[in-house]
């Protein structure tokens, strides 16, 4: 079995309260294996442990237990993060520097040569459409532009893994679209992307797999690449069906058909629990297949799976 690029093994982090020194758990025995080249999402409420996970990966926090492995080798918390790019949740920069000076500083810290620095800064700023802001001071930039600079500094050295903590935060719809495109193009370059988001539709659009965290625990890992297993039901949409047929369909479905919200009068929909019920419904239609407008298999959305994993309303306060 291939070694995952990045592995979290029973990763645990607790903090101590200031006065009582009581343990406050932030992450509880989380194990994940992130494959090379995938876009992996972390989703969860505030305080679920997403940022704590990323800070542990970035070496800003020390694990209380468990370990992180990069290419199968343990990565201790004080080991320099070679090959990992990190963009924190809020873009924190030196206000007195220009964008060019900021990126040059970080490029130097990555150990890039002068020629590589120039080439990469030009390429990355063009990719993020901030090349015209190169000589602007950081303090003068909008939140969206700061977010772009944050991503720019993370992908500057062509890292093997780029960690983006809430990269869509503070972006307008077009900015979010650009960020999504950037994440996909980063993936296309062969970089593994690990990001967190509150916006499930973004995760659904971008991720190969998604981990659901709640109260510091891993609740589910959803593989969005593979077709979901069996549908949980089928929605049959019909038009102009005689009353006796509707009654028969109601008996098959276990509930009477309801008037469809869209499409005008005479439109009905009925939810059938399985394939057997679909066949029984077709039999009940007695060959009048022209009445069928649609037969839609129902699969749980990421939102439904998320809510099922964490429990609706199970919102945790920040630690």
């Amino acid at each position: 079995m291939a070694v995952p690029l990045l592995a979290l093994v029973d990763l645990t982090k607790w903090f101590r309260s200031n006065w009582t020194f009581r343990r406050i758990p932030a992450l509880d025995r989380v194990s994940l294996a992130i494959e090379a080249g995938e876009v992996f999402g972390l989703i969860g409420h505030n305080g679920a442990g997403k940022t704590t996970t990323f800070k542990l990966l970035a070496g800003l926090l020390r694990p209380s237990a468990g370990e992180i492995r990069l290419d199968g080798r343990p990565l201790r918390w004080q080991d320099p993060r070679q090959g990992i790019g990190f963009s924190p949740e809020q873009p924190y920069f030196y206000e007195y520097l220009t964008v060019r000076e900021t990126l040059t500083l970080y490029a130097r810290l990555y150990g890039m040569t002068a020629a590589d620095r120039r080439q990469r800064i030009a390429a990355v700023t063009a990719q993020l459409r901030i090349e015209r802001k190169l000589d602007a001071r950081m303090r003068t930039l909008s939140k969206g532009t700061l977010q772009r600079v944050a991503v720019a500094q993370a992908i500057l050295p062509r890292p093997r893994v780029v960690i983006l903590d809430e990269p869509m935060s503070g972006l307008d719809p077009s900015g979010r679209k650009e960020m999504r495109d950037l994440i996909l193009s980063t993936k296309a370059d062969g970089t593994t992307v690990l990001f967190s988001s509150h916006i499930l539709s973004d995760a659904e659009l971008l991720c190969d797999r998604v981990a659901v965290l709640a109260s510091g625990r891993l609740r589910d890992v959803v593989d969005l690449r593979a077709p979901t297993t069996e549908p949980t039901g089928y929605t049959l949409v019909l038009r102009d069906v005689p009353a006796p047929v509707l009654e028969a369909l109601g008996r098959v479905a276990g509930a009477p058909p309801v008037g469809a919200a869209a499409g005008g009068p005479g439109r009905w929909s009925v939810v059938l629990p399985d394939r057997g019920a679909v066949l029984a419904a077709l039999t009940a239609l007695n060959g009048s297949t022209e009445a069928i407008e649609a037969l839609v298999p129902q699969r749980p959305s990421l939102e439904q799976r998320f809510l099922r994993s964490v429990g609706a309303g199970d919102e945790d306060p920040d630690p």
């Binding site: 924190y92 030196y94 130097r108």
Partner: protein, 255 residues
């Protein structure tokens, strides 16, 4: 390379800080005032100007070092800019040494500017170059190197810059008074007091030995070996303080 990048950035931050220019301007004004008072004084005008200028340079050097030094780490932590630094392949020691070198470069540059201004002033008064300024300001730089390391050390222990500033200022005052400890370590003192005085004498930086302005402006000359020993002493003290800072800072987490 990484250390230099961090040092350059630290200096750049200080240089773009308007407070620095206010301190420099104030020091220049004070030196000019000393020249005016010196001209009006009854005694040795030149000695008055030199004493007052050396005092001003030292005072503003210390103020700058303490103010910039204790804010270096707290600013990084408060503005969370440290997240973007330490998540790069940068060792903790590289970060601290970079900060120290950046602070030192800033303070040394500031002292050099003030020293040049003083040389110019003395040239205007004496009609010849007075190179005595150089060893005085040179030893002041050694003193400020020790103080910079102390500021980094206390910043790595305590969270608030005010407390770190208090400890650094206390170190400066105690260090300038370290010579007085020989009195309390004398045989006529109680054993407990002697032990405390000896302990403090061993731990505190002997900054009094590095401040030679009084001796030089009174015509005393110092051998080259004195400067060599003073440089070695300051270097060793800085190295120990930075080592301790790194040991403490290595354990620090960033929530």
């Amino acid at each position: 390379m990484k250390v230099l990048a961090l040092a350059l950035n630290t200096s750049r931050e200080a240089i773009r800080n308007k407070v620095m220019y206010s301190i420099l301007l104030f020091a220049a004004v004070l030196t000019a005032v000393s020249a005016a008072f010196g001209a009006a004084s009854l005694g040795d005008t030149l000695r008055f100007v030199k004493d007052f200028s050396f005092f001003s340079i030292s005072l503003f050097g210390v103020i700058t070092t303490v103010v910039l030094g204790v804010n270096l780490l707290s600013k990084e932590l408060g503005r969370r800019t440290i997240f973007n630094i330490l998540s790069k392949p940068v060792a903790r020691w590289e970060f601290l040494v970079g900060k120290f070198l950046g602070l030192l470069a800033t303070v040394v540059s500031m002292l050099a500017v003030m020293a040049l201004a003083l040389v110019g002033l003395l040239f205007a008064l004496e009609g010849q170059m007075d190179w005595q300024v150089l060893p005085v300001v040179g030893t002041m730089m050694l003193e400020l190197a020790v103080l910079s390391a102390a500021a980094i050390f206390f910043s790595s222990i305590v969270v608030t810059p005010a407390l770190a500033g208090l400890f650094t200022a206390a170190t400066f005052i105690a260090g300038r008074s370290a010579g007085e400890l020989t009195y309390f370590a004398g045989p006529e003192q109680p054993p407990v007091l002697r032990a405390i005085a000896r302990g403090l004498s061993a731990v505190l930086p002997h900054l009094d030995q590095l401040y030679v302005a009084d001796r030089l402006s009174h015509g005393q000359s110092l051998p080259v070996s004195f400067y060599a020993i003073a440089t070695a002493y300051a270097g060793a003290y800085v190295a120990v303080l930075l080592l301790l800072s790194v040991v403490i800072f290595r354990r620090r987490e960033f929530v």
